[in-house]
């Protein structure tokens, strides 16, 4: 097997009150892995994402990116290879900026922002029109609208496009469809699946939807008390059923 893109080695996080919220966790993420992450509330799913993104420092252990130790690299620097879509549609976009302005901002993820003109040209707008059209929710007609007045589904679709516009080395999807109605949620999930496959993205997706966790991705992990208690891939994952998974939630 190829080398992992991203690894956590004996990663441990102990919060000031003494509770260990991540417990000697080991995880190797390989190129083009699409990992669905399950676990009860408090199992450590958000902790896992915050450790990967660099928002939460480790108490002990190591974080590696392409074999390089990045444990001490701050969150803002990790954005050079890492993109994230949040659960709350409000978190992923700048509400008073237009859809096009948001996309333009996202284009410079992780790179230096200088005193050059932002270059929101007609050509760019055309490109954004084609890009937003792929989401199938009329986002393309609202390029000049302030993001704050979009629907939750459109905002979340935009967040997703912004995260993937510059191909990230690792994409974190933090229950990104959970705040949406079932139909919109399914739509975005299908679009996500397409993009991840077509662009050969490596990604982790937190979800509470067992069906989604089984349908999408090539690998599935279940967290409990800051540890990975199940890690299956390919045929093994395909053989899993919802009943199998539920057992991991009742212990």
């Amino acid at each position: 097997m190829t080398n992992p893109v991203f690894s956590l080695k004996e990663a441990t996080v102990t919060v000031p009150n003494g509770t260990t919220i991540m417990d000697h966790l080991n995880l190797d993420i390989y190129p083009e892995d699409f990992i669905t992450v399950l676990g009860t509330n408090g199992a450590g799913k958000s902790t896992l994402f915050n450790v990967i993104s660099g928002d939460l420092p480790l108490s002990s252990g190591r974080v590696e990116h392409n074999g390089e130790d990045i444990t001490a690299v701050p969150a803002v620097k990790r954005t050079a290879f890492l993109a994230r879509v949040f659960q709350d549609p409000k978190l992923g976009t700048a509400p008073r900026m237009t859809v096009a302005e948001n996309l333009l901002l996202a284009e410079k993820r992780g790179s230096r922002r200088t005193l050059k003109n932002r270059q929101l040209t007609a050509k760019k707008l055309e490109k954004y029109y084609e890009l937003t059209k792929t989401m199938g929710n009329n986002l393309e007609d609202r390029l000049q609208t302030a993001t704050g007045s979009l629907s939750g589904g459109q905002r979340q679709a935009l967040s997703f496009l912004m995260a993937t516009q510059v191909k990230p080395g690792l994409l974190l999807l933090d229950e990104h469809t959970a705040a949406l109605d079932p139909k919109t949620s399914d739509q975005l999930m299908a679009a996500t699946n397409h993009q991840v496959k077509d662009n050969h993205l490596t990604s982790l997706m937190i979800t509470h939807n067992l069906k989604d966790a089984l349908t999408y991705g090539n690998r599935l992990i279940v967290l409990n008390a800051g540890k990975i208690i199940l890690d299956v891939r390919d045929e093994e994952k395909e053989a899993l059923t919802e009943t199998d998974l539920l057992r991991y939630f009742t212990r």
Binding site: A80, T93, A94, M97, L105, R113, T114, R118
Partner: protein, 299 residues
């Protein structure tokens, strides 16, 4: 007539403060109290320098730098020291009182018989108060031009995004602390610059000239917004300038009613309070209309 020209000239000169405060109050989304310190800081720096024989243009430029320094301190206290922004601003504002006394050596300095930026010969040839209008227009045009250019750069857009959504900005690699500090520095540099220009227009700098500054600057922002409604960012900046002029004209009207200049701060606060309540009042008025229409409104 001349008092109206005087009011317009004051409106244009003071518009610098409204435009500068817009960067923090509307774009970064917080009220920066530093301005009550950086305004007299710029004024005292420039006036003290001029009184010691410095070229008035260099003295005015110097105000930009001391203002930026004040903004830098507030910004570092807020972002790195985790002091709430309101308190960080008040700390720097209070500290400035002592600094300003040190700079001036006394509670006020007069510029009587000193050359100022208003001593330019072409300004002297203008009718009374028109020097303020002309110089004010030149200054505000340069500042608006600079801001309109800056806000459309990649860095400017990162700055706007920081104020709009810090979490999102950080997730896209924008250094939000740096953006916040930069905004405070540019804003306070411009406020101090405004202080330097206004002190030269008044002919003196006074230790108390910062009191109530934030209310005046906010009034021009809010009046501009109430008067013009939904606008693009560039148009909003121009609206602040017009708001500042309207504010001065309203003030003039109120003074004509027989209030004394001692009542100025009270009147400023009342004008701002009223301007800020207008959107709310509009809502209620619309609600009244709906009530009058009875059941028709709900279909």
């Amino acid at each position: 007539m001349s008092i109206i020209v005087s009011s317009i000239s004051q409106g244009i000169l003071w518009a610098v403060l409204g435009v500068a405060l817009y960067l923090t109050f509307r774009i970064l989304n917080f009220a920066d109290m530093t301005v009550e310190g950086s305004f007299p800081l710029g004024a005292s720096t420039a006036v003290a320098l001029i009184a010691h024989g410095t070229n008035p243009f260099l003295a005015t430029i110097a105000a930009l730098f001391v203002g930026a320094l004040a903004g830098l301190i507030t910004g570092v206290l807020y972002t790195k020291g985790k002091i709430p922004i309101l308190l960080a601003g008040i700390l720097v504002m209070t500290a400035c009182l002592s600094i300003n006394l040190r700079i001036m050596g006394s509670a006020n300095i007069s510029l009587l018989d000193q050359k100022t930026i208003f001593s330019l010969s072409f300004l002297q040839d203008l009718p009374k108060y028109f020097d303020g209008v002309v110089l004010g227009l030149i200054v505000i045009t340069i500042i608006l031009g600079f801001l309109m250019w800056f806000l459309q750069t990649e860095l400017g857009q990162a700055f706007i995004a920081t104020g709009d959504n810090k979490v999102m900005a950080a997730a896209f690699g924008i250094k939000t602390d740096q953006m916040t500090i930069m905004g405070l520095m540019v804003s306070n540099a411009l406020i101090a610059f405004g202080g330097a220009v206004i002190a030269q227009n008044n002919g003196f700098a006074d230790i108390n000239m910062g009191i109530g500054i934030i209310v005046i600057a906010l009034a021009s922002i809010i009046i501009g917004e109430v008067a013009f409604g939904d606008l693009s960012l560039n148009q909003r900046l121009v609206a602040v300038v017009i708001g500042s002029i309207i504010y001065r004209l309203v003030l003039l009207a109120v003074l004509q009613l027989g209030f004394s200049t001692n009542d100025l701060n009270l009147i400023s606060s009342i004008i701002l309070a009223i301007a800020m309540m207008i959107p709310q009042a509009r809502k209620y008025l619309k609600l009244d209309k709906v009530l009058h229409m009875g059941g028709k409104a709900h279909d």
